[in-house]
Amino acid sequence: MVATTSIRVLIADDHPVVRVGLRNMLQADSLVKVVGEARDGVEALELARKLRPDILLLDLAMPHVAGMDALREMTSGNLNTRTIVLTGLIDNRQILEALQLGARGVVLKDAVVEHLSQCIRAVMQGQYWLEGRPVQNLVQVLRDLTAQTAPQPRKTFGLTAREMEVVTLITEGCTNKDIAKQFGISEETVKRHLTNIFNKLGVGNRLELALFALNHNLLPPADGQ
């Protein structure tokens, strides 16, 4: 149940016009009291520690300490403040990271007028808020977001493991001789592999094969990715 005392809100956004707009929007809500405004991540953390607000409205893209780093600090800082992330667009990877770091809600900046007060109330009631509504099943949301942000599995188009290796080397510009040497097989065997690959993928030459591989996610991820 929502308390009858004011919900104390701290606004953190580097843009003064946004801060003024948010403050005025929230001042119209009799249950909300804006207790402070921060211009960057460092100030957000300082004011959160000092003012102990119920809610921190946090822009993710701020100078000095970025919003995500501020969120990480907030979570580890043993504060009771609940964070609502303000963002310009839906980026599932970013939302997933924010939720994992302890954010309780995500509101699009172009929907603040419509949703911010509702979101603040929902979060104060212990709920999570995403995509313009309270979340009933956070576990399911996290599972869905994780699935959506997971890298796409590498497609094989029926190629064998060795044929996939041959494709990778072809796209790197290796000749049949190079490939034969690398795998310790004859050039005839490499040619046979290539014929099979061409037939399976419906391509006619090495260039078409390289383009197909690039366009269809056929190559292994680069090192470090």
Binding site: V17, G21, N24, A28, G88, K109, D110, V112, V113
Partner: protein, 130 residues
């Protein structure tokens, strides 16, 4: 006269105006500050595009997108979003066209606001250099 939805979201404008009903001068000042900042952002974006400073384009466009979204200037926000994406992709070649579109959209926002709030909302000499 209703506010053009694409230019300026009426729900945002009306609700903000309602929220600041006791401070109409402050409401006008808020939008004047937005226009001042947005025109300046477009000028800086134009410079950054000419100098092919993709990261500068990304950062400035992101800021413009945020304020435009919060104050309901939807088309300006959409243009800023496109510019931000170009900057992120390190490809600002087509940014000039988007900038021009953003300038036209902002001019429309200013005209709408001027209709609604009077000439006091128009910043002095802000559009001249654009």
């Amino acid at each position: 006269m209703p506010v053009n939805e694409t230019t300026l979201a009426s729900q945002v404008f009306d609700q903000l105006q309602q929220a600041m009903v006791c401070d109409p001068a402050g409401f006008t000042e808020l939008y004047r500050d937005y226009l001042t900042d947005a025109w300046q952002a477009l000028r800086k974006l134009s410079e950054a595009v000419q100098q092919k400073q993709a990261d500068e384009v990304r950062a400035r466009a992101h800021r413009l997108k945020g304020s435009s979204q919060v104050l309901g200037a939807r088309e300006v926000a959409q243009c800023a979003s496109a510019l931000e994406e170009m900057g992120r992709n390190d490809d600002v070649q087509g940014a000039g066209v988007v900038l021009e579109q953003a300038g036209r959209a902002l001019q429309q926002v200013q005209a709408e606001l001027s209709n609604r709030l009077g000439l006091a909302v128009v910043p002095a000499d802000q559009t001249a250099a654009w």
